[in-house]
Symmetry: C2
Subunit: 446 residues, 2 copies
Amino acid sequence: MSERVLVQHLQARQDGPVSVSGWVETVRDQKKVQFVILRDETGSVQLVNPATRPAEDGSEQDAGALALTTLISELSHGTFLTVAGELKHDERVKLGGVEIKIGALDVAAAALAETPIAADSGMDKRMDWRFLDLRQRRNNLIFRVQTTLEHAMRSYWIDRDYIEVHSPKLMASASESNAELFSLDYFEDQTAYLAQSPQFFKQMAQVAGFGKIFEIAPAFRADPSFTSRHATEFTSIDAEISWIDSHEDVATMQEELLATAIGAVADKHGAEIKELFDLDIVVPTVPFPRIPLAEAREIVKARGYDIPRTDGDLDPEGERQISAHVLETYGHQFVFITDYHPEIRAFYHMRDEKTGLTKSYDLLFQGVEITTGAQREHRVDVLITQAAEKGLEPEHLDFYFDFFRYGAPPHGGFGMGLARLLMLLLGQDSIREVTYLFRGPTRLAP
Amino acid sequence: MSERVLVQHLQARQDGPVSVSGWVETVRDQKKVQFVILRDETGSVQLVNPATRPAEDGSEQDAGALALTTLISELSHGTFLTVAGELKHDERVKLGGVEIKIGALDVAAAALAETPIAADSGMDKRMDWRFLDLRQRRNNLIFRVQTTLEHAMRSYWIDRDYIEVHSPKLMASASESNAELFSLDYFEDQTAYLAQSPQFFKQMAQVAGFGKIFEIAPAFRADPSFTSRHATEFTSIDAEISWIDSHEDVATMQEELLATAIGAVADKHGAEIKELFDLDIVVPTVPFPRIPLAEAREIVKARGYDIPRTDGDLDPEGERQISAHVLETYGHQFVFITDYHPEIRAFYHMRDEKTGLTKSYDLLFQGVEITTGAQREHRVDVLITQAAEKGLEPEHLDFYFDFFRYGAPPHGGFGMGLARLLMLLLGQDSIREVTYLFRGPTRLAP
């Protein structure tokens, strides 16, 4: 493995012997010369071979040269190979100003001649052949951006002494509600459920005295919807912290976290995102704007959109409208909507004693909700009352109520969908584009 | 939230007003003076209050002081509270040389008087009340060690341009074998399976041209065993890399990764691990010793243990014996056992052309297997043949074979159980001790 040179390092390297490995992007098989564009995980490079064709007059020829020419002629798109050759800098070569004259060519695994998808194939077809779809430079970049985004978030937390937890995805009870739960048979007549969120277990870390925790892990929803923002399995980014005064402390952490992480993406991938997505990454300033829900609804109404929902919440168009307003007014892509009525929030959201509204927020990014955050109710008697108001059966929640019977700190946190964040950051129109292998009601494979 | 001072910062702070938050470890309620040991996520501190008891002669007293004394007398172990008071350095105070004279005491949530577990409660009882069990300093430290370990591993990979993937846990087919799979109903008459490992999907990243990837995520096994090393849900640490020459390249990466990560743990937590576990963290030197399986069996036999297994593999006692040999001979806690026969390895392990043995290894740490690593077979025709030899039904694997029909690089990787590594590193006798919330055949809650 030691001798392989990554394509990104070729330009800085002196002319001479070199070995590269990757897959065939294109072959231009001209009569006198053959060109292969080889790609690896870091870039593309032009390989060249002076073709040796069978002599028409039957005169003797170099058998090795003939064989190499034939081998190159028969290369399929996607074939993985290693080439040893001579590196030469040549400013006429558009692709990086270097070229490799092929010495030896070793095919690792040849691709079938017919590629089942093309660059313009539909989304569903592309998902069928996701491993080929992911070879596109844009798609590769998406997952490098994801990597940077997550590492920057984790580093933010680690620098501040957060503990990373891995909460169980198999549960004996529902995590938040009984709706949209996958269930399975679990040994001798038990039923297990797949966690919709780590909500209860990240709260458990607070009563365990962990102080500040985070988790990035899969969550599952048996949600039959087919929108561009929903999946049955998604990566959830969660954090929970103790000794807060209100949801405002959670919002402050989240906005710092996002500004840091998006800043890291802009630094590391900004130029390439510009090239491949024609997009400028905007690193958000802190604090993000905050607007109480009631005021947001007034603003949306004044803009001429009458929200049809009667429960007092925003709908997707309302979210787009308020985000447009914020962008126009404050030049900001993010906005915290605050002060939701308890009726449209989970039972465990703490309520403000004066207003009766929840100490919670939704975070919108470019018109789409990416997060719900809140201070949680840590007083067990209040919590039980609020659960009862929602008609939840206390026997299923008793294990959760127990958490708060032996002492609990004030605490709160947020959950954020990784794919939604990434979709919006890279200007994509569906989370399918930014999910390694999407899972939906009719999509379980590959 | 801004005014709270963490206990670890008290020593360096000047005498004067201070506010701390945490939970009650102990109360010593003496007639003339009351002491409370308060713990937060960073340490413990002594709070003091000169008791004001009701005067026996009925003379007038400070009502506030009386109330505070009563409040402290009634504090339960585990009650979370905030105390504002006066910090005073006093070298006679054993606990950190500081003390806080209580000014105001605000209870966040009072604990029930009876704590359901004690320090010496059995494992099962402690798991029932895991959120209380986790308050122990040792248990808290376990998860801070876990956090450091994981972050060091991810940083190692990120520094080397690995891509982080989140592979799906819901699958249409089995991931490796049909044994020990959880299945669930998935919308209109579909069946989904929970991934036993990300094996196929991390290989998919290689044919997608990702080059080097990692994932730390849950995996699921419907395994009815009750050993100290098995769980139905566990955190799997996985990496996969392209363009390797053999499994040796994977082993080299893994030993560097582990040396780096264990080094980070020793640096950050070494002293505290020594204090709480009476254990010196040994940072392993690289390379780790390597011993071919056949030779390992000879060594074990020469030590007087005759392995009863007839399949040529080691058994748990054989693993302990060979590890003891390596420790005695090389002073090393790790050993790679290599050159396994194909009959005892997965069908996708590549075989050495000369020996017919697989290009794979097991990594043992202190006598316990923590990893299997291998070069994978990337030639689809060979792969199909090897699957057929194992009696696997090709129709269930065709989606996987497809990965290799459109070009593939030589590649390999490993999977490692986080809990096993942590258990051994901290000298624990069960993965239950180092798992946030353990899941086993009879354990689904809390």
